[in-house]
């Protein structure tokens, strides 16, 4: 992780279907979790589901967040399906 990047993590079904555990994106002024999700969905293929019917949960710095949550350099943002523990 670099000071000017944001770390993106995926879990469970998303991690498997995107075949990606983690990636780095550059931090930009005004970037939100929702905007990043839409941007990633434009990669097409399995990524399109990020903007689809299935719910995608988001956490920023290991706390539940919302699409409107702002992302800053050094942040860790995670996308994952609804949780199914217990």
């Amino acid at each position: 992780m670099h000071a000017d990047t944001i770390t993106v993590r995926f879990f469970a079904r998303l991690r498997e279907e995107l075949d990606t555990e983690t990636l780095e994106v550059s931090a930009r002024s005004g970037l939100t979790a929702g905007a990043l999700l839409e941007e990633l969905a434009q990669r097409g293929g399995p990524w399109a589901q990020l903007d689809g019917d299935q719910p995608v949960m988001v956490a920023v710095n290991q706390a539940m967040a919302r699409p409107a949550t702002a992302l800053n350099a050094g942040d860790e943002v995670a996308f994952f399906p609804p949780v199914t523990g217990g």
């Binding site: 995670a78 199914t84 523990g85 217990g86």
Partner: protein
């Protein structure tokens, strides 16, 4: 005490730790969740559990804190297993020690219900024909709403 672990846990040791840590109080409620021998589909042979290390522990600590604000909680212990689990294996333990039995029950059930819907764990069912991720049940979400 919060632990997310691959290893099995021992309910007897957890109970003893609760009893010792809440010395002088009168009520200990515990809940243990086990892998059922039938899942959402036929022929389930086991489970695989994944979690978000770091966030999981923070979320559970927050749940215990929330419970402690609402009820008398002298000690609480939460253990959640991850990795491969066989049928009938223990998955999760929640134990609460309180001065009052109503508080012990309420705090224990609250933590367990909230864990199901807000702690980042994901469950995959393993079958002879392959594996599939379990989808969240709306009944679990409804349970947490009754606590809000």
């Amino acid at each position: 005490m919060i632990s997310v672990q691959f290893e099995d846990f021992d309910v007897a040791s957890e109970y003893t730790a609760l009893r010792d840590s809440g010395a002088g109080t009168g009520a200990i409620a515990t809940f243990t969740g086990l892998v059922r021998d039938s899942g959402d589909m036929e022929g389930v042979t086991g489970l695989y559990l994944e979690h978000y290390p770091g966030m999981t522990e923070q979320v559970i600590a927050g749940l215990i804190e929330d419970a402690s604000k609402r009820w008398d909680v002298r000690a609480a212990r939460v253990i959640h297993r991850v990795g491969r689990l066989a049928l009938c294996d223990q998955i999760v333990f929640v134990g609460v020690c309180s001065a009052h039995r109503g508080d012990a029950f309420a705090a224990c059930e609250f933590i367990m219900d909230a864990l199901k819907t807000s702690a980042p764990f994901w469950k995959k069912e393993l079958t002879d024909d392959g594996e599939h991720w379990v989808e969240q049940k709306s009944s679990d979400l409804d349970k947490t709403r009754t606590w809000e």
